[in-house]
Amino acid sequence: MNTTHHAAPLFLGLVTLLSCGEDRSGTKTERPEAEIDVGRQADRATADPTPDAALPVVVQSTLSRAPGRMTVDQLRRSIEIITGGLAWEEDFGDGPTDMLEVLAPTIGAPDYLLVTEENLEPSLIIAKFLHDASHRLCVRWVENESVAPPERRTLVRHAAAFESREEADIKAGLRALQLRFFARYLPEDGAEDGPISALYGLFLNASSTSTPGREAKDGWLAVCIAHMTDPELLLY
């Protein structure tokens, strides 16, 4: 496992501070602010945003400021880090095109000609494009994972075999994804198991209706799309 986990950029640090890994009693378990080195720029393709599970956790109960939406550029870089280097790219015959860059003006990024300030609303259009991006990216991510050795996986990290459908393996993987996408630490003691149970149900639903041989792929594909379209990714 890659242990250079202090390299997340500023916005992931903010995500960590404000993420909603909270139990129903209103307490919140999170990594301490001091653990995040926001100034360090690491190789994004290899940076691992997942903190060491052995790090201490702190309790934080309230937001200290109004939430905000990531800019298109922040979103693109976040996706790159989360997926271990993937970007939403399409190739129409003349090489890969970065779709978020192309669509940025439509989403509301400034062109500094007609628009000088970015529209940071969680609009229908960014929700729609994030939906599209999740489809394209997650298919590629799952396909890559299905043939990658366990130590190089970023989506299915906690199961020795990608095809495993053991409940413990799946739930461990889901906890790792919560940490990876939202910097939300969910301990295994079950106290904050709501999101994990729901996601596990999603995994089972997708995999049980799958064509033979695609069960694990479809399960993780559904889980990936659910994470990538979650407001916790876009907002911080």
Binding site: G93, P105, I125, D132, G201, L234
Partner: protein, 446 residues
């Protein structure tokens, strides 16, 4: 435009296109008390009001009188397809580049002699777009289109569509902010799942996700970003986005398809091209007709900032295209039925403006520079058409004071400014204009 190009750059019946009946049904039901539509048309760059809405007779304003008047129509410099004189449009006279709009003079009113108090593009543009004088270059309020949309509600998939015009949402609900589309042809891809690309997500996965999203909120948060109003808005928009892609609305924006041949013919898109004034007008029309949007703000003409010899050929043709496209849009809406009955035009209020006018004298580079005086055009529901409000004087076209009740020049009146026009625009539809802290031009209200 092909998808590759799309990547590079950034009364047609519903039944015929298989548009989701449930969507249309909801729209018809929603067509209640506030069944109103808005068009905001921006002529980008500063229009020459002598060529359009505020002309002068060249037999009077000629070389001999130039020293006294400072007004130089210069119609003889225009390309041969344009008149060398003003055009009698019935209720008033218009300039040689007014195009097909001259035939609809009874359907709109012209406001002349607007005092912009600026010669800076950004300031003038933002002044008109928001109805509030900017702070420096900074817009000081939400776009009037956004204000309209906020008051009408979010009963459309894309309540406010914007194309090639700045839009601001400073104090209005998020749904009212414009969804800006960078090119007319982008719309069809935007409305399709995965931009119309083949998807490798199996149906069972989509089905499982549908159940997942229906059955629970994303992370059951009681705190954090996922528990905020912003996240609620995102979830609502995510649901609406899914409704949009399943509604087949995109087919109504595939302007090159055989189904849309009547639209292409009406707007002359085969000759003019999609990314033109005519294409933008067609986009605005389709957005209203399909029920995609209630408010559309868009650029009518573009690249009007002609300080040099390009003025004679380029400004004139671009301005004429913008006005003619607007005329075709009005006619299209007049022929189209609104979801709740009646024509769409009978429920649509339109304003067209530019950031300022252009100097009445030709400069040393054979073009025209920025001028403090301006004009606007208002039309449609709630507007009394066939009128001229205000006046520019015959000495360098300076704005004259106006009696806001009668719309006539009055030395004891007020200086007409964008806030008066935008207040009128809002009140024409019965909307609250109090945020502008101004008065309407009462004689414009039907």
């Amino acid at each position: 435009m092909k998808r590759r190009d799309f990547l590079r750059t950034a009364g047609i019946s519903a039944a015929a296109f298989g548009l989701s009946q449930s969507l249309l049904g909801r729209l018809a039901l929603a067509a209640g008390e506030q069944d109103h539509y808005f068009l905001v048309c921006y002529f980008e760059g500063g229009w020459d009001h002598l060529l359009g809405l505020d002309p002068r007779d060249p037999s009077v304003f000629n070389a001999a009188s130039l020293r006294d008047t400072g007004i130089e129509p210069a119609y003889e410099r225009l390309p041969p397809q344009f008149s060398r004189s003003t055009i009698d449009a019935g209720p008033f006279t218009l300039g040689p580049c007014i195009g097909e709009l001259a035939e609809l003079a009874n359907d709109f009113s012209v406001v002349r002699g607007i005092n912009m108090a600026t010669l800076t593009h950004e300031v003038g543009r933002r002044y008109f777009i928001t109805g509030k004088a900017p702070s420096g270059l900074q817009a000081r309020g939400s776009s009037i289109a956004t204000v309209c949309c906020a008051q009408l509600g979010a009963d459309r998939p894309v309540p406010h569509l914007g194309h090639r015009i700045e839009n601001y949402n400073i104090d209005q609900p998020a749904f009212a902010g414009a969804m800006s589309v960078a090119a007319v042809d982008h719309m069809q891809y935007i409305l399709q799942e995965d931009l119309g690309l083949p998807t490798d997500v199996p149906a069972n996965v989509k089905g499982a996700l549908g159940s997942y999203w229906r059955e629970r909120p994303d992370c059951e948060p009681a705190n954090g970003a996922g528990a905020t109003r912003l996240a609620e808005i995102y979830r609502e928009n995510r649901t609406r986005a899914r409704q949009v892609v399943t509604s087949q609305l995109h087919r109504r924006f595939q302007f090159n398809s055989p189904d849309l041949a009547p639209v292409r013919a009406h707007y002359g898109l085969d000759a003019a091209g999609l990314e033109s004034a005519y294409g933008r007008a067609a986009l605005a029309s389709q957005a209203l007709k399909t029920g995609l949007s209630r408010v559309v703000s868009f650029a009518g003409a573009t690249e009007l900032d002609t300080h040099d010899q390009t003025w004679a050929n380029d400004h004139s043709t671009r301005l004429e295209a913008g006005f003619s496209a607007l005329a075709r849009l009005i006619r299209d809406l007049q022929m189209s039925e609104a979801p709740g009955g009646g024509s769409l035009w009978s429920k649509t209020t339109l304003i067209a403006f530019s950031e300022f006018g252009r100097t009445p004298r030709i400069n040393d580079r054979q073009g025209r520079d920025h001028h403090l005086g301006n004009c606007a055009l208002l039309a449609g529901a709630g507007i009394r058409g066939g009128q001229v409000i205000g006046r520019s004087n015959d000495r360098a076209m300076g704005p004259e004071l106006v009696d806001l009740a009668t719309g006539r020049p009055d030395e004891a009146g007020k200086s007409l400014q964008p806030e008066h026009i935008m207040t009128t625009y809002l009140q024409a539809a019965g909307l609250d204009a109090s945020s502008l802290r101004s008065e309407p031009v009462l004689s414009l209200l039907a």
